[in-house]
């Protein structure tokens, strides 16, 4: 018989579980219900006292202490290993945030188990089957494993976050024998607030392509104007900014094009595949942003000068054949007027 453990951790405030953790709890509840399996939830945080109140009725295990307030491979893997050994689960569901993604495979190996990551769906009838993508979201596979324990790292956004009434189960504290720590986390380095253009919780992804820095009808490059229009759009809409590789690389080569773009904005083959409900692509003619970067964007529109762009056809819901400069300028104007 299967038994299920969901691993969770506190967010950076320490006072709540991350959204991805609560999504994994929902997945754990659903799976436990379907399999008729017992459910345990493990918490890693500085202080788990109040965190368990947000969780459903289940066996709650917690690793607590200042060493676990921050993400660090040595402490996180030791904590997860201790929780897994205490729960003795055959299936371990793990939320795929930056914190657990960097250690879950190590934990699976220590327990003699196996792991599959970027899980987007859990199904199967007689056996447990999971869905994930290969080749950067180009090929979809459904797979299964006989070996246990089986760790499943769940992609964010694939389940609703648990928001039900909290259970009243008591928290069982789990002790961890930490190795000698050689790594000190000294903090988080974030761009200035105005320059923060990556917003994972935004409803919309705004994708910019290299066309923004190409010569315009007057024969000149208008990079500064392009930058103003793009930042103006982000201010008005609260959208997250994605970019094609070619545009980001221009910045890296020292050309003063769009200085607020970094490789972290990049979507596609060597970039992110973010989840947003809407996406608007502008001046972008590459395959990668449309095929790979847009895989998990629900409602997609594009502004392109090329009516025959093969990468938007069949990938976007609407393609506007137009120059993005006057269109985005007018959009910004209309949105500003609407707000006023």
């Amino acid at each position: 018989m299967e038994s299920i453990l969901v691993l969770t951790h506190a967010d950076e405030t320490g006072s709540a579980l991350t959204k991805a953790s609560l999504e994994a709890v929902t997945a754990g509840q659903e799976l436990a219900s379907r399999l008729g399996a017992p459910l345990a939830i493990g918490i890693i945080s500085a202080d788990a006292t109040n965190l368990s109140k947000a969780l459903p009725s289940a066996k709650i295990l917690a690793v607590s202490g200042e060493a676990f307030a921050q993400s660090r491979y040595a402490t996180d893997t030791a904590a997860c290993e201790a929780l897994c050994r205490a729960a003795g689960a055959t299936i371990v569901l793990v939320p795929a945030g930056a914190r657990f993604s960097r250690g879950a495979a190590g934990v699976a190996h220590r327990l003699g188990g196996f792991i599959d990551t970027h899980i987007t769906a859990i199904g199967g009838t007689d056996t447990l089957e999971v869905t994930r993508w290969f080749y950067r979201q180009r090929v979809e596979a459904v797979l299964s494993r006989d070996a246990r324990p089986w760790f499943l790292l769940l992609d964010a956004g694939t389940h609703a976050a648990f928001a039900g009434a909290g259970g009243s189960a008591s928290v069982e504290s789990v002790n961890v024998d930490l190795p000698a720590l050689r790594t000190t986390v000294s903090g988080i380095r974030a761009p200035m607030q105005d320059a923060q253009t990556i917003r994972p919780d935004a409803k919309m992804l705004f994708v910019t392509g290299a066309g923004w820095t190409k010569k315009q009808p007057d024969g000149q490059i208008h990079a500064a104007e392009a930058g103003d229009l793009i930042l103006g759009f982000l201010r008005q809409t609260g959208a997250s900014l994605g970019s094609s590789k070619s545009l980001v690389d221009q910045g890296g080569e020292g050309t003063p094009v769009l200085p607020f773009l970094t490789h972290m904005n990049q979507i596609g083959q060597t970039g992110a595949t973010p989840r947003h409900s809407k996406g608007l692509s502008t001046c972008c003619h590459g395959e990668e942003p449309h095929v790979v970067g847009w895989r998990f964007i629900a409602d997609r529109r594009a502004i392109s000068l090329d009516p025959n762009c093969g990468w938007t056809r069949g990938k976007a819901d609407v393609v506007y054949v137009a120059d993005a400069f006057p269109v985005i300028a007018k959009v910004n104007e209309l949105l500003a007027a609407k707000k006023a």
């Binding site: 792991i115 596979a141 959009v331």
Partner: protein
């Protein structure tokens, strides 16, 4: 020589990103149609790791750089003809299957075994580099398990920068959610760093570096040991291309103002 490091970069080979991929069933499980003749490149994130490794080695005299790669010998040779012109390294090839469908745990075991057997590698000075994910399996699993197998418990992923200090300690920037970096300081080697893109541009081809590399790459390829990768209970139920093809509405006859009005309405709609 105080900060000389031994850097091992794990890097697979992947189909050129512009190729159309079609999954098929082979006697050994899922694969890609014409996989052996598809143009291949060094895995993009692992390539970033290789360039960062070469830069770090150049800044720290006495350092050594190895590239460990698992794939069919013929494909490895083809890819190395290009990669060898970028930076100087010693190739440690493993003759194994190509593609993203073999089990990551078995791949990690083969890589760890090969690294363990590198002559002259000082594991106390080891920095194990690779991409934080591959462009094939994209699991972000292999490097962690290689590190565990080698007994390294200081691991960093989504790395964009490493600064090696005079005292041997190094500062690492790892990507976390929201376009931010977590800053950590590690008390020296050994460590595992799974790289995101880093900050370096792709080096230009240097034929002289290429010729020097190929003198050791060709004999290494000839001596590459075969690796059979166990399935570890992994079973593929189905492998397919996404069927979703959208019916795209192409709008050619609206003015910028009209398009803007339509977009504003769309943006505001729930």
């Amino acid at each position: 020589m105080g900060n000389a490091v031994h850097i091992v970069v794990c890097a697979g080979i992947v189909p050129d990103p512009l190729q159309t991929l079609e999954p098929i069933t082979t006697p050994n499980g899922p694969g890609l149609k014409n996989e052996m003749v598809l143009p291949a490149v060094l895995d993009p994130w692992a390539a970033c790791a290789l360039y960062e490794a070469a830069s770090l080695a150049a800044k720290n005299p006495g350092s050594k750089l190895w590239l460990v790669s698992l794939g069919p010998k013929a494909k490895l040779q083809q890819v190395m003809m290009t990669v060898a012109q970028k930076v100087a390294f010693e190739l440690v090839p493993i003759d194994g299957p190509i593609g993203g469908f073999p089990d990551a745990h078995s791949t990690a075991a083969a890589l760890a075994g090969a690294i363990d057997a590198i002559p002259g590698l000082d594991k106390a000075k080891l920095l194990l580099f690779g991409g934080w994910e591959s462009a094939t399996r994209g699991a972000g699993v292999t490097l962690q398990i290689v590190g565990e197998r080698l007994g390294i418990t200081d691991q960093f992923y989504g790395v964009d920068q490493i600064d090696l200090r005079e005292d041997g300690f190094f500062e690492v920037l790892e990507r976390v959610e929201g376009g931010k970096h977590q800053v950590s300081v590690c008390a020296g080697t050994p460590a595992v760093l799974g790289w995101a893109t880093g900050n370096l541009a792709e080096p230009r081809n240097n034929p002289q570096v290429g010729m020097a590399n190929m003198r050791t790459i060709m004999p290494a390829l000839q001596k590459a040991k075969p690796a059979a990768l166990a399935a570890n209970g992994l079973r593929y139920v189905s492998v397919s291309l996404p069927k979703q093809q959208r019916t795209t509405r192409v709008v050619k006859d609206l003015t910028p103002d009209q398009i803007a009005a339509e977009l504003v309405e769309w943006i505001g709609a729930e």
